[in-house]
């Protein structure tokens, strides 16, 4: 049945092809359509159009309010040229120090916890029950946004950077363990078999055959995660989990855009620096 319909499709395709070729010989060449089936192509177009109409009618936008806010927007863009690092300097320094320390502690803790979970989540080295358990942890940690976790942890541990550390560490586990597990699953089998053939114990087997294969990537990913954690630390401060986010939020709510611009510029600068640094370290370890 499916063979017949596939043939029919093929014949149809050939027919349109010959039509196209004939048209091209007369000088009217057109490129092949991206989606072969005509019905699918048109129904997709219609669906997109229907969605646009639906959205247009379900979203009502207060354009008067938008126009009113435009001078504030211009103010904000202008403040990027006159950032004020000084008048709230103390708060910025405290916030940044908290964000940096928070993200470092969380990254270290998260990776320390992610390594066993990653080992357990690799299908080629973990027994089935351990595999499913670790994959469950990974799925749980990856589905929920940092901000939602932060709300829960702030409710449990109170305001302050400790809740932030737990939040970021929790998010790091899912991220690192998933990538580590996939890396281990992609590892070459020959070295692993060779080490096992020497009569190595399980630990020796992991340390001498798996670890050297995944280490360079693990280091690169750790630095990348440190970078992500720093960026996230600017966000979870909004719900009370410490860091530069609280400073930023306060300054925006006060319409003190010069200070906000200063904080944003500092965040951009630190992210840029860490990106440059991680590129350097990755070239050095690989």
């Amino acid at each position: 049945m499916s063979g017949v319909s596939a043939n029919a499709v093929k014949n149809g395709a050939l027919q349109t092809d010959s039509l196209r070729v004939a048209a091209a010989k007369r000088g009217h060449w057109r490129p092949l359509p991206m989606i072969g089936s005509k019905a699918l192509r048109w129904s997709l177009n219609a669906a997109v159009l229907a969605y646009v109409v639906l959205v247009y009618y379900s979203v009502d936008i207060n354009w008067a309010r938008v126009a009113q806010g435009m001078d504030r927007a211009l103010n904000f863009i202008g403040s990027f040229f006159t950032p004020d690092f000084v008048s709230r300097g103390g708060e910025i320094v405290v916030g940044l120090r908290e964000s940096l320390t928070m993200s470092f502690v969380a990254t270290v803790l998260g990776i320390a916890l992610a390594i066993p979970v990653g080992l357990g989540g690799a299908r080629n080295i973990a027994p089935r029950p351990v595999y499913f358990f670790c994959r469950g942890i990974i799925a749980l940690s990856r589905t929920f946004q940092e901000l939602i976790i932060a709300i829960l942890f702030v409710a449990m541990f109170g305001f302050g950077p400790l809740a932030g550390v737990f939040t970021l560490a929790f998010a790091t586990i899912g991220f690192m363990a998933k990538l580590l597990a996939e890396d281990i699953e992609d590892a070459q089998r020959e070295p692993m078999e060779a080490i096992r053939a020497t009569g190595a114990s399980w630990w020796q087997w992991i340390v001498w055959s798996v670890q050297p294969q995944v280490m360079p990537r693990l280091i690169g990913l750790s630095l990348y995660r440190l970078d992500i954690n720093f960026r996230e630390s600017a966000v979870i401060g909004i719900v009370g989990a410490g860091g530069i986010g609280a400073t930023l939020n306060t300054s925006i709510n006060r319409y003190d855009y010069d200070t906000s611009a200063a904080v944003l510029l500092l965040i951009i600068g630190i992210v840029l620096m860490s990106e440059y640094l991680s590129g350097y370290v990755r070239r050095w370890t690989a």
């Binding site: 379900s58 504030r72 470092f104 270290v108 302050g160």
Partner: protein, 280 residues
Amino acid sequence: MSHSEPNTLGAGLPANKPAPTWMHRTPRQELLLWGGWFLGLCLFLLCFKVVSDATIWEFLSDAHVQAASLIGRMVPPDWSITGALMLPLWDTLNIATVGTALGVLIAFPLAFLAARNTTPHPAVRALALGVIVSSRSINALIWAILLVTMIGPGLLAGMVAIALRSIGFVGKLLYEAIEEIQPTPVEAIAATGAGRLQVLSWGVLPQILPAFAGIVVYRWDINIRESTTLGLVGAGGIGLQMNAAINNLAWGQVATVFVLIFATVIVSEWVSAKVRHAVI
């Protein structure tokens, strides 16, 4: 191997000395490695001290009680508000989808300006890279806070926030894809006497389209997650209901919102995986 034969490892040594044992690293490397770990540990402890100084540890003594009572209040979720959450959920999906579309519209030309092989001028490239980095460094939620103070609370702020964050992500991945294209088809098209735009649309574009579709769907999937929380700062969607429930300490309703978010994220991840699988 008998003892009389010269051992290759001990070849340079006097015959009466035993052959050296095999070591993974030289003593100097070993020392540097341990020193590095020690410095890292010191840094960790120092950072932990800063965190610990800012923490009220007394709060932690009853954390397990707090956690238990929180979970107790969240289970069972309050299903009665599910119907009222459907419209906010639709808004959230719109924020993510329209935001992604807006972001992609801007990111697409930007990527061509930022890629080394298609940029009109190195100065333009530097500017485009600057825009991409700034957009990438700042979370959608921070964009949303800014936009809510500027253009007022509502869906538009959320959409623009998502768009601004997506520009950097899509722009970066796309310009990297452009830089990795094969130069030969581009040269072939150029050799036919095609203009600059014709070369781009017939030589470059077909090579990056699959990657482009994959990137867009991937970003859409991430944006669904991010748009669920934008309501916390007033940018519309299901996050508004979550914020209201949290402020009322109605944890049963919060749990319902969480379950809905969970389901939406799983569905969007499934859709994105399907589409990426079909395209690439």
